[in-house]
């Protein structure tokens, strides 16, 4: 499939920290997950791809436009939906007013057309019933949906979502996953998350980042396969395991290099993720 977003050698240094170190990637339509520990560079990568921050080195194109030029950047921004990690809201705005404000920032100046678009995106995220309610009175899950609605204004071809499910309860998270899946139909979506369940349920591809580099690029099944033969069960925590924890059955689940005659278990995406990080030399919190 032809990539809609492709980057090569993106590097960015903040002070003494190398936030991005030669990141190359190719994104295609559908939802691509971006996993990585805190400080891996996920938010920085998303900001670069969203044209908020220019890279020191490297280049990328999105939907056929090069954001290195002012004109290209403008074209990318016209086709971009961005949900930042901690979306801020003007406290006195209603859901409608906030999305309307973002629509103005997206150059929708005709009032009637803009209001039609605001109603459309609020309907899309199931918030039609609360569009007149002040944002400060909405629940956390509803606020995230307002922010997603704002990102969807103008029907963007490229959607960048930075940890949108953080802080949501399981029911809200499930509802939000449905919306992301819906948004991913026909669009290129890059979803940064700490939740491997998000990736397992939503993504056709997954990237794993650590220390500013892409450490894995493949399908969720391929990431899971990284842990094939490297997950085993034991009565006590295996001291040779990279990570191990007691499960609900009382036995320990260990990941790493199993001893001979270990009782091997079916790996999960999380196992593959932990081992990928470990292989990359990143710190793994078990």
């Amino acid at each position: 499939m032809t990539p809609t977003v492709s980057a090569s050698g993106l590097s960015l240094r903040y002070g003494g920290t190398r936030a991005l170190d030669g990141v190359s990637l190719r994104l295609t339509p559908g939802v691509t997950g971006l996993l990585g520990p805190n400080g891996a560079g996920k938010t920085t990568l998303l900001r670069v791809l969203a044209t908020a921050v220019p890279a020191d080195r490297g280049a990328f194109t999105a939907l056929g436009h090069d954001p290195a030029t002012a004109g290209g950047r403008q074209e990318v921004r016209r086709r971009l939906g961005y949900l930042p990690q901690a979306p801020g809201f003007h406290p006195d705005f209603t859901a409608f007013e906030f999305v309307d404000y973002v629509a103005i920032l997206k150059e929708l100046t005709d009032r009637a057309a803009r209001h039609r678009e605001v109603r459309r995106v609020l309907d899309e995220v199931d918030l039609a019933g609360v569009r007149g309610k002040r944002i400060k009175k909405l629940s956390g899950g509803m606020r995230q949906r307002v922010a997603l609605a704002a990102a969807l204004v103008g029907d963007p071809g490229f959607l960048v979502l930075d940890e949108p499910t953080v802080g949501l309860d399981p029911e809200q998270r499930m509802r939000f996953r449905e919306l992301i899946a819906q948004a991913g139909e026909g669009r290129t979506v890059l979803l940064s998350t700490h939740q491997t369940e998000d990736v397992a349920m939503l993504c056709h591809r997954v990237l794993v980042m650590a220390s500013g580099r892409i450490r894995f690029d493949g399908t969720p099944a391929e990431l899971t396969a990284q842990a094939a033969g490297r997950v085993w069960s034991s009565a006590e925590r295996d001291p040779g395991a990279k990570a191990g924890w007691r499960t609900g059955t009382g036995s320990f689940r260990n990941v790493g290099s199993p001893p001979d005659s270990a009782d091997l278990l079916e790996p999960t995406l999380e196992d593959g993720y932990l081992l990928t990080l470990d292989d990359a030399g990143a710190e793994v919190a078990a």
Binding site: A19, P87, L105, T109, R119
Partner: protein, 271 residues
Amino acid sequence: MTWHVAEEDLRAYAQGELAPPLLWSADTHLVACAQCRAVLAGVGDPATLDAGWERLDAELDAPRPGRLESLLVRLGIADHTARLLTATPVLRRSWLAAVVFLLVTTVGAVYTAGSPTLFLALAPLLPLAGVALAYGPAMDPTYEMAVVAPLHGFRLLMIRTVAVLATGIGLNLLATLALPSYGLRALAWLLPALALTATGLALTPRLGPVLAPSLVGAAWVALLAAQAGGDRTPVPFTAAGQGASAVLAALAVGLLLLVRDRFDFFSGSAA
């Protein structure tokens, strides 16, 4: 009904050419007035009428603009620009009330001290602070979304700067009117205010939205403090100082235009 929409306005409405606030007034009136709806049906073609009803439907759904937004539209500002201004943090009532309080207190202090220096020293700092807080990661909660929007960051900054400057300078002028005994001397804050504000903005891309105005403000305070206690008028309020302020303001505006593209990117912490 004690009034009806003029037929001329109904024709414009049917053709989609009626502008706010008359448009909003007609929208609201048509919901309740069968007589005007009947006249409207006679003056428009069916397709245009359908579009009108669709617009009316949308209007009923949309929230009523707040007092500030309505006022701005009545003053002739486009409704989308009015919405951008409504979202400016320092145009909120609490900020304006704080500025008014500060100015009233300062004017009171001028009367007590018998010298306008305190007012002249403070007045340029208010527009500087207002503009610094009008756009950027520190005060605008939607800053990160605004930066990646197609509306150029510099344009949004300028829209808000003009509004905040007009408000700040307007309040300063009102305070100046309370000091009639000092004549034109009481206006000596104006050029330094423009110079400080423009310099703060011009330095923002290099020093950041907090450090740049803070340094400029600190330099102003240091300059005045160095001359405090003497009998002579502080240099910034002399003719030479006013000339220097004007030159500095012009240079800063030139520099600001040169670096305007730098406002197109996020200026905050890394990640």
